[in-house]
Structures are given as C-alpha cells and as structure tokens.
C-alpha cells in the first residue's frame, strides 16, 4: 500500500508545470465559487435579518385564520396555555394589537395602520426608540401616539397636535379616540413611513374595544437558526385548531422565493464554472494516461493488479484537486473575512432602493464553513467521477499493445 502512495506522490511531480496549472485552475474556481456564494449568502442574510428585525420577527402566534383575514375580530387573550410555552429558546412573546383606522387632523384624513405595542418589549425587538427623530418615546400608561414621519407630513401634524382616529373595533364596536402626538419616527421604508401609527398596548386595546386582547404575539428567540424546530415544537404544545404559528418564511414567502431564484441562478453559473474547470482536469487526465500507457503495460505485465494502478491515478488527481481546493479556500478566507467585517457599501441609487424596503444598504460577506466544505466536496466528487476514465482505460489495457509503441 505504501508504494502506491509513494508512486502517486512522485508521479504528481513528474510534470510539475501541468500539475501546477491544473491545481491553479482549481484554486481559482474554488476561490471564485466561495467568494460568490459568501457574497450571495451575506446579501440575503442581511436582507432577511433586516426584514425580520424590522417588523416580523422570526415567528408569530395568531388566532387561527388571522393572517389570511387580518381582522381585529381574530384578537385573542394571552392565557396560561400560551404563557406556559414561554421557555428556552423562546425568550419572550411580544404582544401587538394591529388593525386599520382612519386618522384625521383638520381637513386631512388618511388610512393608517394603528398598532398597539408594549413600548419596552417592542423596542427590544425592532429598536423603535432609535428611529425617533422628534419628541419622546411613549410609556405603557400613555394615551398618546408615536407617528411615522411621512404620515405626519401628510396630515400636517407636529408634536403635541391632536389626531382623531376612527375605526371599526372588536366585534363591530365603534372605535373612536383622540390622541396627542408624543413622538415622531422615521422609517427608511416608504411604505411604513407613510402609514405607521403606534399606540401603547393598553390605549390601543381600549381604542379597539378589545381589553386584554392581542392580534399578534411576536416570538423572540435566542436561537434564530432553530426557528423551524421551535415552531414545530410550539405547534405540538398549542392547540392548532385555535392558534396559528407562522415562521418568517411562511409570512414572507415572496422573499424566500426571490432568494431561491437568485441562488438557482448562481448555481447555474457555478456549474458552468465547474464544467470549464472539469474539462481542464480531464485534459490533464487524458495526457497522464496517454503518456504513461507503456508504463501501465509494464506494470500489468509484471503483475500489478489493475485496481492498484487505477488507485494510483485516482490518488494523483485527487491530490491535485485537494491542493487546488485548499489553496482556493486559503485564498478566499481573508477576502471573505474582510468583507464580512467591512461590508460593501451600496452606491447612492441602489442604497435608496434598499432602504425603501427597510434593508440596510450594505452587502456583507457571510463566513460559512458549509460554503467552503461544499466546494471541497464538489471538487472531490468531480475528480473522482473523472478518474473513472483512466480506470476504464487501465482495465481495458492490453499490455502487449501498450508496450509496442
């Protein structure tokens, strides 16, 4: 066995130039693939985490059917059945009561999304306080609103002005209220900026005529990666005839689809890249077998089993593949780490488009060992597959013919 490794290893250096060219081409392929995938994953992770941290959270609990209808009539009480499920990795249930209302000030009226929130808990999830541009943040006992800047502009209201809210409350009651503007927030997303109106939870429940009720519990977790499992467990614990538990992928399927489409596109690019590299490796293999057929003839004649000869060639090509793959990974690591810590800043126009959707206008690279490992496996698999060619050649080799050249 030892002599097989020895022979393979020495054969690699028989044609140094060819070995180096082959390994270098693999190195660049791996480098490019790792960089591209890290960038893509980084961009999407950033996008997803922005969307999640902005509003949705990783998962939400509603009364069954709420997501479909978005109706205040699907409000529910947070009873023991629910609070009992609050254990690791669920850190907190953040309550909201959400519905639509007409807001008016003087002659101007506009449809708004009026959300009742627990000021501290909401802030721990979405950093609402950080977005204040004017006034102060409300407290749980306040009967005042925090208004989005675009909406305030439209209604021409400022701090301490009064807003009148009109809506249909819980089970059809009339909801009417008068609230002073205590703070003003600015959202990068135009959509949010033009329609968000926050009330403290108690005030909102009173407004909607839904004392002690909520429409949404946002699940705060310390293990976002395990969210699928957490949701699955929760579905087990809670009565799914009464409640629906949705993770972020179920709430924003468009984003998930867009990501899949994008990743599919880059997978094709990678396949093409690997195909090109594959041809290069195959060329090396062809030459290796061709120029050594006399030698394989001698080896077969003096009694070396064909599988051992094949093993030598496989070891050689796998070794070149491993050298190239490792070199590519080593080359990619500092780049990925650099752009993970110093994300690419998007240029102005693109940045605005990103901000519209509430996404930070940066593209960090993700440093994910899985991306690195995947390349190693692709190279290994590809090289092994290609090593079939010399194996077949060797298994069919006729020693007399091979030695007659």
């Amino acid at each position: 066995m030892f002599s097989i490794f020895k022979m393979a290893f020495r054969n690699i250096w028989r044609n140094k130039r060819r070995t180096l060219i082959t390994a270098t081409s693999i190195m660049f392929a791996v480098f490019f693939a790792v960089a591209m995938q890290s960038l893509q994953k980084g961009a999407w992770d950033n996008m997803v985490s922005s969307v999640i941290n902005y509003y949705f959270g990783y998962a939400q609990v509603h009364k069954k059917g709420y997501w479909e209808e978005q109706s205040i009539n699907k409000a529910f009480a947070v009873n023991d059945e629910i609070t009992n499920t609050k254990k690791s990795p669920i850190e907190e249930y953040i309550p909201r009561i959400e519905s639509f209302a007409l807001a008016s000030s003087g002659p101007r009226t506009k449809g708004t999304l009026v959300i009742g929130v627990d000021p501290e808990l909401e802030n721990s999830l979405t950093d609402l306080k950080e977005k204040l541009i004017k006034g102060t943040y409300f407290e749980a006992s306040d009967k005042a609103v925090v208004i989005a800047e675009g909406l305030a502009d439209y209604l021409k209201v400022d701090l301490r002005d009064t807003l009148i809210l009109v809506s249909q409350g819980y089970r059809g009651v009339n909801a009417v209220g008068k609230y002073a503007v205590k703070g003003m927030v600015k959202f990068p997303s135009g959509e949010l900026n033009n329609q968000m109106l926050y009330l403290p939870l108690a005030a909102a429940q009173q407004f909607y005529g839904a004392e002690e009720l909520v429409t949404t519990l946002v699940l705060k977790t310390d293990q976002p990666k395990a969210i699928k499992q957490t949701v699955a467990n929760l579905r087990h614990e809670l009565d799914t005839n009464k409640y629906e538990i949705m993770d972020w992928e179920e709430m924003i399927p468009d984003l998930v689809q867009a990501r899949e489409l994008d990743e599919f596109g880059s997978t094709i690019v990678l396949w093409i890249l690997y195909l090109i590299i594959g041809f290069g490796i195959f060329g090396t293999l062809l030459m290796m077998v061709k120029e050594r057929s006399y030698e394989f003839g001698v080896l077969t004649a003096i009694g070396m089993p064909r599988w051992k000869q094949s093993l030598i060639v496989w070891l050689e090509i796998i070794f070149i593949g491993i050298i190239g793959a490792i070199a590519g990974m080593i080359l990619a690591t500092p780049l990925v780490l650099y752009f993970k810590n110093n994300p690419i800043q998007l240029p102005q126009e693109m940045a605005e488009a990103y901000e519209k959707f509430g996404v930070e206008p940066i593209i960090p690279m993700a440093f994910d060992p899985k991306i690195f490992l995947l390349q190693a496996f692709v190279i290994l698999g590809m090289v092994t597959l290609m090593a079939l060619y010399p194996m077949i050649k060797i298994s069919l080799l006729n020693p007399i013919k091979a030695m007659r050249e």
Binding site: S3, R14, P305, K308
Partner: protein, 231 residues
C-alpha cells in the same frame, strides 16, 4: 529427475487484426526443464516475441495449450493471469522496463512488495541482487540516472527478486553495445547457475546465442532446430 516448467503443445497463433490473417505460430511443441538457459533465435518476424508472450500469459494461443508447472493457464481470466504472472514469472523486456519514478532499489523490490513479502526479506534480497548485478552503489538512483546496460541489469534483478518459476527475456540486449551485452549475459548465466532459475530469452544476436545451453530456432512460426550445448 527432470522437472518440466513450461510445456507448449500444438500452439498456433493467428493475428486477424489485419485484412490478411498473419500466422505467427504454426504448431509449436516445446518442453522446457527447470534450470535451463535457453535462447529462442530466428529472423525478425519468425514468431519469437509471439511465442514468449504466449508462454508468459501475456497473450493467448489461437490453438493449443500452455502448461506452466503442470497447470493449464489458458483457463485463467485476464485478472487471474495478472496474479499468475506476478507469482510465477519474471519479465525482462527489450527496453524501458523500469518504473521511472522509483529508484533502482524500489524497482527491484516492486514485485516482492506486491506479493506482500516481509520487509527484511525484501531488503536482504534487494541488496543481494543489486550487488550481484554490480549496482550495489546505485540503489538510490532513478532509471533516468542509469545507462541502458545498467537499466537492463536492474530489470534482470527485478525479474529474479521473487524467485519466479522462470524468467522470460525478449531481446534483452537488443539496445545494448557489445560490452554491456557481454556483461548482462555474464550476469544472467551466473544467476541462472547460482539460483537454478530457468531463463528463456529471445535474440538474433550471434554473440548471445553462443552463451545459451539450448538453442531453439524458429522459422516462419515453426521450430526448425532444437540443439543442446554443454557450456
């Protein structure tokens, strides 16, 4: 008591690869005893290589039977033949016998290592043989660093190393000058005596023929003469 190591009976070989079939061997009957030092001679194209290849299990006869040590080798599969050759036959070809990436020592030990012999046995044997072929100090050289004659001596050492049933050498001196030829023949003749290993070699070189104790002459794929000499 004579011990037959190779027995060919009614061996025919016809190559059908070309449009006109080539009858390379037309009925060869032959017995070779243990310890013989036999030359197969004949003009170019007379069938020497074909006969050696068939005896050595590298090719199959179109007709007839080959027995090695009493065993019919025509029933063996290709892969069984590889194992058979490794365990029973030493080969010396006309040139480029050696594995270029292995040193002289490693080339000599190669077949023994394929046979999983113990390291001490291999090491002792390699040293003994390299000394015997006069290359005790060149063991760590690669083939490219050796002359053609030296390479052929290493090839003889490799063929002998596992103490095979017999050694086949197809024109081993064809690419050598006369000094190297004489030198190689001396070594082969000496080791044949010392180790009592059967040698069968082909040649059309008069000087080589003169060293053989048995000379079989092939003409047009048939044995024309078969002479024994006391040497």
């Amino acid at each position: 008591m004579k011990e037959i190591v190779i027995k060919a009976s009614g061996v025919h070989k016809t190559y059908n690869e070309t449009k006109v079939p080539v009858h390379a061997l037309r009925g060869v009957d032959l017995e070779i005893e243990k310890g013989e030092f036999t030359a197969i001679v004949g003009p170019s194209g007379s069938g020497k290589s074909t006969l050696l290849n068939i005896i050595g299990g590298l090719d199959r006869p179109s007709e007839g039977k080959i027995e090695v040590g009493g065993k019919d080798i025509s029933t063996l599969s290709d892969n069984q033949l590889i194992d058979f050759r490794r365990e029973n036959i030493g080969f010396v070809f006309q040139a480029y016998n050696l594995i270029p990436v292995l040193t002289a020592k490693e080339n000599v030990s190669f077949v023994m290592e394929l046979q999983n012999r113990s390291k001490t046995e291999v090491d002792n044997r390699v040293k003994e043989l390299l000394d015997a072929v006069g290359l005790g100090d060149r063991g760590d050289n690669r083939p490219a660093e050796l002359s053609g004659g030296q390479q052929q001596r290493v090839a003889v050492a490799r063929a002998l190393a596992p103490k095979p049933t017999f050694i086949l050498a197809d024109e081993p001196t064809a690419n050598l000058d006369s000094t190297s030829t004489a030198n190689l023949l001396d070594i082969m003749a000496r080791l044949n005596k010392e180790e009592n290993i059967t040698f069968v070699f082909s040649t059309h070189d008069r000087r080589v023929v003169d060293r053989a104790r048995r000379v079989i002459t092939l003409v047009d794929g048939k044995i024309q003469t078969d002479e024994h000499f006391k040497r």
